[in-house]
């Protein structure tokens, strides 16, 4: 589905650079992170309720792939696939990549993004809601993603925070530039 470019979308060049990269290593890394998180925070599965073992598709508007996420006490997984191959997903969440990251780390409010249409959902709304509320509680950050703790985690989080802020500013500028050239 083509959409008008959002100020939060990455420039098209990013998708072109990412498209040829091998998916398997990224799948393995993401799956390992999710399994580690579920093992460390069993309370999150209680919060998920009916969404355990339900495949949910996360579809970044500005990247070439979709992510099929399935959370499970033993075999949580993330599969990377083409956006046209997500029919097994019970629910679909679509948004620019930086928006999705901002939802993960609590930078953005999901409802506010829904109001502005930067975030769109399809399928079983209750699954999307349960997943969103669980991720809110998970308090995810990059340090956790790389299995760090203490000072190194804090350093990693501060670095990624700076990089993400710059990426959002860059994305906004790259959308504003052509508009200024047209006017």
């Amino acid at each position: 589905m083509s959409r008008p470019s959002s100020p939060l979308c990455l420039p098209p060049m990013v998708a072109l650079l990412i498209a040829p990269l091998p998916r398997l290593p990224m799948e393995a890394l993401l799956s390992r992170f999710i399994r580690r998180l579920v093992a460390r925070r069993p309370d999150l599965l209680r919060r998920l309720g009916a969404v355990v073992q339900v495949p949910v598709a996360i579809v970044p508007d500005d990247l070439p792939h979709a992510f099929l996420l399935s959370l499970d006490p033993l075999r949580s997984s993330v599969r990377i696939c083409d956006k046209t191959r997500i029919s097994e997903a019970q629910a679909v969440v679509r948004a620019p990549f930086l928006v999705l990251l901002g939802l993960l780390d609590g930078t953005y409010d999901g409802d506010a993004l829904f109001f502005t249409r930067d975030l769109r959902i399809e399928g079983r709304t209750e699954y999307v809601l349960a997943l969103r509320n669980t991720l809110e509680e998970a308090d995810l950050n990059p340090g956790e993603f790389f299995g760090l703790s203490g000072t190194s985690a804090r350093w990693m989080n501060e670095l990624s925070d700076t990089l993400l802020t710059q990426a959002r500013a860059f994305a906004a500028r790259s959308v504003a530039q052509p508009e200024r050239e047209r006017s």
Partner: protein, 328 residues
């Protein structure tokens, strides 16, 4: 005035405490509270930890047990009251007479607040709850003007709490049957208005978004148009050849401009709606209203912080709602 802030999860509670909430309200993960949505709310253990954290930060915790108990099956609600008291809650917010009675009889040391779900908006009704159960505060329905609140406060000895930001119920709370009509689930009995398992969104290739509730198409948003919640009260209806919002537009309450008037009207506490919202909303809204309240007392300008809250508003629009009743 006290700033009362929402928390749907333990991390939201921490965000509210960090942002300057005087009190934080939350509920258990079951149908005893009116925000019974998937993935939200607290277990008893999480509530205990939340209360301890809030108290360390100087904030109180109010537990909403504010749905109406099922006839002949009040056990779940009584159990929730016992758990809230055991967890060290500073107050219980309730609406059902059986729940209030159980709390007053078995936990006299725990303060009782009357939920907005009880829809008590007359001196007689409020006095009844105060005399019968020792209720110390009433959360007023979002249907009164500021002069009406001032008049009410002159006739009662109970504290009043009013909503200042967030979602709006157009009806007197506790008496809404719209969600039940469309889905069979009631906000007042099962704690879910427009339950998500009855909500369905479809966006077509032109970017037009259709929102459906219980199989009914209740709203349509064109590409780029700000969307609202999938509630029947904010849906569009067709009648006599015209289509439009019959009860209420998708819009959020923002009573920032009326804070001084509300203080003069004798209001004790200001409530922010949004237990289903994320940490970003909690931090942004609580922080802005904290600044606004502090500037009421010590000067300063909270205008820019409040203006930024438009981004959190349903349909991208705000209203002072019934406080002014400009449509009259």
């Amino acid at each position: 005035m006290e700033l009362v802030c929402p928390a749907g999860t333990p991390s939201a509670l921490r965000a509210a405490a960090d942002a300057g909430a005087d009190a934080i309200y939350c509920g258990f993960a079951n149908e005893t509270n009116a925000r019974n949505f998937p993935g939200l709310n607290f277990s008893a253990d999480e509530l205990s930890e939340g209360v301890a954290h809030a108290h360390r930060k100087g904030a109180k915790v109010l537990v909403a047990i504010n749905t109406f108990a099922r006839a002949g099956d009040v056990g779940l609600w009584k159990h929730a009251v016992d758990d809230a008291a055991a967890c060290g809650a500073d107050a219980i917010i309730a609406a059902d007479i059986a729940v209030l009675d159980h709390a007053a009889a078995n936990h006299p040391g725990t303060r009782l607040h009357l939920s907005v779900q009880a829809a008590a908006n007359t001196p007689e009704a409020i006095r009844f709850y105060a005399e019968a159960f020792g209720v110390k505060r009433v959360v007023l329905p979002r249907v009164l003007t500021v002069p009406e609140i001032a008049a009410l406060n002159r006739e009662i000895d109970v504290e009043t709490e009013v909503f200042v930001f967030g979602g709006l119920c157009v009806m007197t709370e506790g008496r809404c049957a719209l969600s039940s009509y469309a889905t069979g689930k009631s906000p007042n009995l099962t704690g879910v208005c427009s339950p998500p398992d009855h909500v369905d969104y479809r966006e077509d290739e032109n970017g037009q978004l259709l929102a459906r509730l219980g199989g009914y198409t209740i709203d349509r948003f064109e590409s780029g148009q700000a969307a609202g919640y999938p509630t029947l009260c904010k849906g569009q209806f067709s009648a006599r050849g015209q289509t439009g919002y019959l009860f209420e537009d998708p819009v959020s309450l923002n009573a920032f401009e009326l804070l001084d008037d509300l203080a003069k009207a004798g209001v004790t506490a200001l409530k922010i709606e949004g237990r289903q919202r994320g940490k970003a909303y909690i931090a942004g809204v609580v922080g802005a209203f904290r600044r606004a309240l502090d500037s009421l007392e010590s000067g300063g300008d909270a205008g820019p912080a409040i203006a930024a809250l438009n981004a959190f508003s349903e349909g991208g629009r705000q209203t002072s709602g019934s406080y002014k009743k400009t449509w009259r």
